[in-house]
């Protein structure tokens, strides 16, 4: 029976939001004036209590790798900050057994004017390593970062890749019993990302306890044994990593996965058939709020129509644009010869998109429908596809984000002793 590494009980953190002031810090003048005007009230401005985290309880056993998942603002970072003692909780308690190393940012405390060597010592000390520990691991750190020949160059002359590599290398050689990591993998080129991920799984598989926050579902899938899903500061799911990811992708999806189009006025076309909603679902028809690259997808287009027909010639199409507005592809009924379809008064068309092949990101879609040669409905920016990194190639490896938008099925082979025949 492994010991408990972290026990969190009813942990909560609230902030006072002041509506009147522009900035977080105050000026003495404001406070003094307030004191003069209302000497007995504690505050003149309207204040509201905002709970960034509320009633969080969980336990992490020794050697467990816990992935903390949630949307922006769900309270993930606040939780990590409390556990790494950067900020204090408002309620509850947390017990941490063991030396904690926390990595909420790569290169915290790096100073551009200092050399690589100096920064390794500085950063190491800031992360809690003693001078002797850093000296002992110095060569390893430098070798990992691949910056040997630039050790005595100020880091302001480093390329951003070198800078990140060095920063991660220091952090990776921290030897804590409990490692707290926030999204650091989202940096560097894909080759280095892979190296970082390798290092992370070393740590994860060496019996150390790891808390890992990421938007990257592929990384969570690969690294974590357990998952905790946060939503609006509360725990909504806690369990095995795979189930947590499923929960995260489907939770609250009824609201988010469905795009309501019934109120849209900016449409073109005759209007006899109008789309009222779009819903993104997994292969079982369950609505999902984010798509994982590689998963099978059903996209449903709800409509109402005042000219139902048992059989009509329908060209239903949607364009997929990336965030730069570049048209990536068009999916339609004509190209796959599925134009002969029935229409009801209220119904939906369904597009099956197997092995979803776009990389993580947000994609904008325009929707179009032509019935018997007449344009009935046409909506720009009708709905969005939210895509998260998934296991597209079935390898479990991270997919680089800067390598274009589209994924393709492929494989490699080698013929070490053959030559291409050159045709003249």
């Amino acid at each position: 029976m492994p010991d408990v590494a972290i026990r969190v009980e009813n942990l909560g953190k609230s902030y006072q939001i002041t509506h009147s002031t522009r900035s977080g810090y105050k000026t003495l003048q404001e406070d003094l004036l307030r004191l003069l005007r209302q000497p007995f009230s504690r505050s003149a401005s309207k204040r509201e209590t905002f709970w960034a985290l509320r009633d969080i309880s969980f336990e992490v056993k020794d050697g467990e790798v816990l992935g903390i998942i949630g949307r922006n603002g769900a309270g993930k970072s606040t939780l990590l900050k409390i556990l790494s003692r950067i900020t204090k909780p408002t309620t509850g308690s947390a017990d941490v057994y063991g030396r904690v190393g926390s990595l909420l940012e790569v290169g915290t405390g790096f100073h551009p004017e200092l050399t690589g060597r100096e920064n390794v010592y500085l950063n190491g000390a800031i992360l809690g390593m003693s001078r002797r520990e850093i000296e002992r691991r110095f060569d390893e750190i430098v070798a990992f970062a691949e910056v040997e020949q630039f050790l005595d160059t100020p880091v302001k002359r480093y390329s951003s890749g070198m800078y990140t590599r060095l920063a991660f290398a220091v952090a990776a050689h921290l030897d804590p019993e409990i490692l707290i990591v926030d999204e650091v993998l989202a940096v560097g080129d894909s080759k280095f990302q892979e190296k970082c991920l390798g290092k992370m799984s070393d740590v994860a598989h060496s019996g150390r306890t790891v808390l890992f926050v990421s938007h990257n579902m592929a990384a969570v899938q690969q690294l974590c044994s357990h998952g905790l899903v946060l939503e609006m500061g509360k725990t909504v799911f806690s369990g095995a990593a795979g189930e947590a990811i499923d929960y995260y992708l489907t939770s609250g999806a009824e609201n988010i996965a469905m795009t309501d189009l019934s109120e849209r006025r900016d449409r073109k076309g005759e209007g006899n058939l109008q789309f009222t909603a779009v819903e993104v679902c997994n292969a079982h028809g369950k609505p999902i709020q984010s798509i994982l690259s590689g998963q099978d997808l059903l996209i449903r287009f709800q409509y109402h129509c005042n000219q139902p027909a048992a059989r009509a010639t329908i060209n239903l199409a949607f364009n997929v644009y990336n965030i730069y507005g570049v048209l990536l592809t068009n999916l339609n009924t004509r190209d796959v010869d599925k134009m002969e379809l029935p229409i009801g008064e209220v119904g939906y068309f369904e597009c099956h998109w197997p092995h979803f092949n776009l990389r993580s990101g947000i994609y904008n879609c325009a929707l179009f429908c032509e019935v018997n040669g007449r344009i009935e409905d046409w909506l720009q920016s009708a709905f969005q596809l939210h895509v998260e990194d998934g296991n597209f190639h079935g390898t479990g490896l991270l997919i680089g984000r800067e390598q274009g938008d589209v994924l393709v099925d492929y494989d490699w082979a080698a013929q070490p002793d053959a030559q291409l025949a050159i045709q003249s």
């Binding site: 950067i86 308690s93 809690g128 060496s206």
Partner: protein, 289 residues
């Protein structure tokens, strides 16, 4: 999927004697906790090294500035107050007299200025990593010691030039140094903590330092203060410190027992007060800064 286990790890972390940290909400005053500061001494040393290195990186003259600044300032004071205003300097040449006063004063004022803004300039550290927050202003204060020692060497060169003999009084210097530093750190802790909440202190600080300087016998002799005011004057802990430095370096007058005693008491009080206030407010730094 390949999980490469390239480097064999240094073995299982020890299961025994594990550090237990309990994280609880806290409010109000707490007892002084200086043990943490000692545990993070490596970080203090490295931050001091960083501060010193950064100051002289990319300056062509480097250490020359450290010598030049106080020396030129002392020369100006010597000309204005010594030659034209003809302020008495207790029978010693005005330059060494002023310089002896400026030694502890510059340490004190430099520390206030450096440490006062230290938390703001290291705000990124505060919001991303845990360590005892006191490490930052304390190491900024201590980093000023480098300037102090350089100036001290200049002082020790000035003495024979002005035919002032070295005396056994010099043995008091280490004690005086610790006293000045404790005082400087105490006030710095207070100011740096408040600066996080009220950026006004950033602007008030140079003003405060200037007023404090003229309220201290840096450019004049403490003998100039009329008897009736002497009691009030001596509450300023820098009076005893400066008197002490002049006594140790220039063998001026009698041993300033009373004013030094006041300084010691004030330093202890200010240090404890500063540290308590700092501790009280530091837990919210990450949320406010």
């Amino acid at each position: 999927m390949q999980l490469e286990q390239t480097s064999p790890q240094a073995g299982e972390p020890a299961r025994h004697n594990r550090i237990h940290t309990r994280i609880l909400p806290v409010s109000g005053w707490a007892a002084l906790e200086l043990g943490d500061l000692w545990r993070y001494r490596d970080l203090i040393v490295i931050l001091i090294t960083r501060d010193v290195k950064l100051r002289y990186k990319q300056t062509a003259l480097g250490i020359v500035w450290v010598i030049l600044q106080p020396l030129v300032a002392a020369l100006i004071f010597a000309v204005i107050f010594g030659r034209y205003a003809k302020l008495p300097s207790a029978g010693v040449a005005y330059l060494p007299f002023v310089f002896a006063g400026m030694l502890p004063w510059n340490l004190f004022a430099g520390s206030l200025q450096r440490a006062g803004n230290s938390l703001i300039s290291d705000s990124k550290l505060i919001s991303k990593v845990y360590f005892p927050r006191m490490v930052i202003p304390v190491s900024s204060s201590i980093a000023v010691l480098v300037d102090f020692f350089v100036a001290l060497v200049v002082m020790l060169v000035l003495l024979p030039i002005y035919a002032i003999p070295f005396s056994l009084n010099l043995l008091l210097l280490p004690f005086l140094l610790v006293l000045t530093l404790a005082l400087a750190i105490g006030v710095s802790l207070f100011l740096s903590a408040l600066n996080v909440y009220y950026r006004d202190f950033m602007y008030a600080l140079p003003f405060l330092v200037q007023v404090w300087m003229y309220a201290s016998p840096v450019v004049y002799s403490a003998d100039l203060i009329p008897g009736a005011l002497k009691g009030v004057f001596a509450i300023n802990p820098m009076v005893g410190v400066i008197d002490g430095f002049r006594w140790a370096l220039l063998s001026l007058g009698d041993f300033p027992a009373l004013s030094l005693l006041i300084s010691v008491v004030m330093s202890v009080v200010l240090f404890i007060l500063g540290a308590l206030v700092f501790q009280r407010v530091e837990r919210n730094f990450a949320d406010v800064i």
